[in-house]
Amino acid sequence: MLKVQSPTTTKTLISPGRLLLWVGVILMVGFCLAPVLWQLLTSFKTNAAISTIPTIYWPNWNQLTAAHYIGLGGEFLRYMGNSFFVSFISTCLCLVVGAPAAYSLARLKIPGENIILGLILIVSLFPYVLLFLGLLEIVKAVGIGNNYIALIVPYTAINLPLTILVLRSFFQQLPKDLEDSAKMDGYNTVAMLQHIVLPMTIPALVTTGILTFIFAWNEFIFALTFITRPEMETIPVAVAKIGGASVFEIPYGPIAAATVLGTIPLVILVLLFQRRIVQGITAGAVKG
């Protein structure tokens, strides 16, 4: 294990506990970042550099290129746009439908409240693979294959449990006097929700919105099943298809570039909203 410093110098040297902590921190950061960084590096290496053995960790200028990104072309921007559209709309829908439900479950004491909450909790545990068969039938019956409604509605649904649980716990923390005051002022419940409660819970809405957006962006199985027109694909499916596209030689460079591009929006979200994401995850899981 680690060597303990002699007592005379402990003031300037780090204590063994701290040293252990820092080793842990470095390992942790390395573990989390390594695959991403590796992908980033690969995406900028020339094909020759990628297939050089032993592996090149510090490429020189000749071994670097932006060609993989350029090769992805405008098509890829389109996938990003698709993903953004579907995720954004389903996030909005989820908040519009989920916030009133959460408020109702937090405050209005409807009979069967606990049963509804229990069901919502259970439903959030269902793997999507159990759902796609039934949904596929509906999609076919209604004729909305290759229509983003076929993604937006399921995405809204799979995010509703989390949205409702998180928002409910936020609503419960609001001081009740404010709502009473609004009632005295003459707001009815819906107007109160719209003009008083929701404006005060914007931080919570942002929190849940971010989580919803991430889940929708990342969803794979529905996107794979219900959307078959290539130009309508979302990022996860489009990237996965690049991986399985060519039979003879797997295009590692373009895959890496696609991975990087497809994950950049999420990395940005995490960087900007780290605190809120943590808050949302814990509120959703622990308070429920």
């Binding site: 902590l21 921190v25 942790m28 950061v29 573990f31 989390c32 695959p35 991403v36 590796w38 992908q39 990628i50 297939s51 053995i53 592996t55 439908v97 009133p100 439900a101 109702s104 479950l105 209005l108 004491k109 409807i110 259970i122 439903v123 545990l125 269902f126 793997p127 999507y128 693979v129 159990l130 759902l131 796609f132 068969l133 039934g134 949904l135 509605v153 399921p154 649904a157 509703l160 449990p161 819906v190 990342n218 199985i221 990022i235 996860p236 990237v239 996965a240 590692y252 895959i255 991975t259 999420l266 990395v267 960087l271 780290q274 994401i277 943590v278 995850i281 814990t282 899981a285 622990v286």
Partner: protein, 302 residues
Amino acid sequence: MTQDTLRQRDQRTGWFLVIPALLILLLVFAYPILRAFWLSLFTQNLGTQLQAEFTGLTNYGRLVGDSRFWQSLGNTTIFTVLSIIVELVIGLAFALILNQTFRGRGLVRTITLIPWALPTAVMGLAWAWIFNDQFGVVNDLLLRLGILETGITWLGEPTRAMFALIFADVWKTTPFIAILLLAGLQSIPKDLYEAHAIDGASPVQSFWQITLPLIAPQILIALLFRFAQSFGIFDLVQVMTGGGPAGATETVSIYIYAMVRRYLDFGYGAALVVVTFLILVVAIALTAFLLARARINVSGER
């Protein structure tokens, strides 16, 4: 009764506000499951020209003798159990680290969130590249460290393919567990440790006697969520191994998906859905039961 009209009005509004959400949930969650129960009683595949023919429990009979199903169930179980155990251990370590105060903790916490946020399907490709036979960085590192003499096949060999899957899954979901456990750690009052230290307990003893019992609820919640997700794992496997080699990493969901999409056997696919659903429900009920017990224990101790 007129006395009650105000409350009734509130309740009516309450229902009005939940109903849209309930309808969407019912449509997307309840209908497909119920539908699967119904459909599983029919044979509907290429053999019947995709027409549904009522055949009772035939599909279930076929399922009992379907060794591919049992293998996929076994694979799923191995995957779930191993990945969850490793994730819990590493996640706890992460949480303990993040619970310390050190410079740059905010940044470190942000970094640990990244794996959780990235699309599994996309990162699955990254992992496939990392575990690549020829140019994979794993082989290269092991060679450089002298652990291997020549590069080995990872995704083409049953055990190692499973290992790679578990490794990738651990990477992806440990942050989630770490965050949940961190919330648990942060809710433990500091003076508990101080009192324990004054009693002469070492930090290791404190960990076993205070930390673990007090975050037991969070551990169980994490377990519950992760169990359900892990049991239904689809995208990672689909992208990394596709269930191969030779079905060695085929999970239940991959099998169900193939049954429906590739073999177009809807009736049997529905039966698979039903059985998987029931297994899950039983397992979740068991965990939830333990969770309720643990909560009582913890509050009883205080």
